[in-house]
Point group: C2
Chain length 396, copies 2
């Protein structure tokens, strides 16, 4: 029979990155294209010990249906950590565990946005979020970024010019894909605009724990006074990405709606993983574990920056992230990074061209994303050298 | 700030059953209200052994991001099992692993149905599916059931009278909540109607492996000739419900769209669980494991039926399931089972009243659902006796 898809998704394409991911694993390229954490960040032995104990002493809880809002103890642990470390979570807030941070974004869109509503996002931004919004037939309006995050004047212009803006989606800390962190002053300005135009902010914060240099900026959610900021986080970058564990902290009315919606999406999040995370937090030192990851990423990021400075032509600009997993490199104006990424792939270097991350997928970009969390030191040295040679050839 | 939810979910309520679930765990009642498998069905020791080996020898695969469509080996194993045992899966079909059977339903609705489209369902039907459809603002049309499943004349009437019918949602085998299995003749008739009116069938088949008596009926999907039947299944009733492992087998164009949509819902399904299921199927005897579950359920169902016959007044009718987890009891016309369920709860017996499962939640029902997979033999004997006493009092 002829298959007609719903309007909301008939033009939706798979994420170019995940498609690239499949291609690379076949071709054995040096990979700067990942959005993955280093496998060295997985607490394998600890998980093995905890899992053995769970199967021995608490197997029914780990394998039976559970409550939609999440394993009670883990909810409490996350809430406490968010409050203590990041001042995130007010009296009017609550928290739901989600199947990865991705589901927190999906549930927010599903709960709040009617088809045709507008979501304002940083341009570029995280493709997984953009596609989640597209899958509800939302209109994306991308706002250009300065060196320190979204351009506030352009943001206000977008808020003024667009009707039915429902939320502003932001990754204020170690942004994906740029690695940029928004300073406090700008965070306040953005929150004031959200108040002035009465829209929500969805603060996506999966990298916050990965600051390896510089001084932390307060989360926008910590400045929230009226339930306007919806906050989502993830265990993907600090314990395991494959476990699919994230959370949404927001006004309790929004969390209650998210619970009802999650119930019909996947009933609840895999409970064994929730128990593994909870017990890891209880029995081991999460901060010490995260410190190891940060040490690793600091070292890899430094090495990549060093190699870039050695090998890339001066006209290629790049960000200097204080944490997270990404560096953003920008070619001189007029160059198409998609073409360059294609050429790099021919030389077995995988990078993601900037257009992938734009609100308007038909726009071109002269920038590309480099990931430093997954490649080895040898691959960073060799890969950046090869990219540098290609760039010199391209830009000569 | 004032929170306005999207139209699709502003009136959506949590599943009454899951709310009841929370209440019961507090109050220590005898529980015939569950939709859960027996914890005895979980292969705890086998999982412990496999998990230990995965953490030792394959930890990166188990904890890193993975592909959206599912762990390749498990996809293959499920596809083969579906084909060999149930003749499910044609050349034009493909399969995606989902975060429980619930997500397979959610993705089908998201992929195919525009807001306002009509979904026809059995009346009563599985509340989780009905709410998944409601969460896309779909219109539910319930079609009454006969003793052998959906009434075909009324189904045709519903197909004729409603515009924009997109799919017929059915649980043809050991239906939830009635326990009824549709005979082949009716399956064929339903498929012919779907062809005649050019709509999809979503065949939800989580209980198929749990036939403990009688002769199997072919899955509707096995009769499919043109990609009209979308089939979903689950590991929840045969390995673990808390793992959240299900799958969708459908025309490959639909599966491809489901993959794109799943990518933005939760990226992929928890990969450790997929590996546990895959290795269990490879290294242990799934059929022997399922046989143990069936033996248990046969025995519990028989006991419950025996007790019902002993204790319930004759005017209370009930189904005699050949598998699955549920018996459906019907009071004489005019009685409100919701009132009776409330009274039963006062006597610490939890049952789910029929209205919960109706397409129109404001309609009343004189029936209620009894689950036999979770209560112990002692609880079955004691609980059914108490229910019988209450019924006699109520109906005298």
């Amino acid at each position: 029979m002829e298959i007609t898809f719903a309007d909301r998704c008939k033009d939706l394409k798979p994420s170019a990155i995940r498609e690239l991911f499949k291609k690379i694993s076949v071709e054995g390229a040096i990979t700067f294209s990942a959005g993955s954490p280093s496998p060295l960040s997985f607490p394998v032995e600890e998980f093995a010990t905890i899992a053995a104990d769970i199967f021995k002493n608490d197997s029914t809880n780990a394998l039976q249906y559970s409550v939609t809002e999440g394993y009670p103890k883990l909810r409490k642990q996350i809430s406490e950590r968010l409050k203590e470390r990041f001042y995130v979570g007010a009296d009017y807030d609550d928290l739901i565990i989600t199947t990865g941070g991705q589901q927190a974004i999906d549930l927010t869109a599903k709960a709040l946005c009617n088809e045709g509503d507008v979501v304002i996002c940083e341009n570029p931004s995280f493709i997984g979020a953009l596609n989640a919004f597209r899958a509800y037939n939302l209109k994306l309006v991308g706002v250009d970024m300065d060196d320190d995050g979204i351009n506030v004047e352009k943001l206000e212009k977008a808020l003024k010019e667009n009707k039915n803006v429902k939320l502003i989606y932001l990754i204020p800390t170690f942004q994906n894909p740029t690695g940029i962190t928004m300073p406090l002053k700008k965070r306040k300005a953005v929150l004031e605009l959200a108040q002035k135009y009465n829209v929500f902010i969805l603060e996506d914060d999966p990298y916050v724990e990965l600051r390896f240099t510089g001084v932390p900026e307060p989360e926008i959610k910590s400045l929230d006074t009226d339930g306007r900021v919806i906050y989502c986080g993830s265990f993907s970058k600090i314990l395991s990405a494959g476990m699919r564990l994230g959370y949404l902290c927001a006004h309790k009315d929004i969390v209650n709606k998210a619970i009802v919606l999650k119930q019909v999406c996947d009933t609840h999040t895999n409970i064994l993983s929730q128990m593994l995370a909870s017990r890891f937090m209880e029995e081991y030192n999460l901060d010490a574990h995260i410190k190891q990851i940060k040490d690793l990423y600091r070292s890899r990021c430094s090495l990549m920056l060093y190699c870039i400075n050695q090998c890339f032509p001066d006209c290629v600009k790049h960000t200097i992230p204080e944490g997270g997993m990404f560096i953003w490199a920008t070619l001189p104006e007029g160059y198409d990074a998609a073409e360059f990424a294609k050429k790099a792939m021919e030389h077995k270097i995988a990078i993601v061209s900037g257009a992938t991350f734009l609100a308007d997928p038909n726009q071109k970009s002269n920038a590309f994303r480099l990931n430093f969390s997954t490649p080895s030191d040898e691959d960073i040295v060799e890969g950046i050298k090869r990219l540098g040679d290609l760039l010199k050839e391209e830009l000569k």
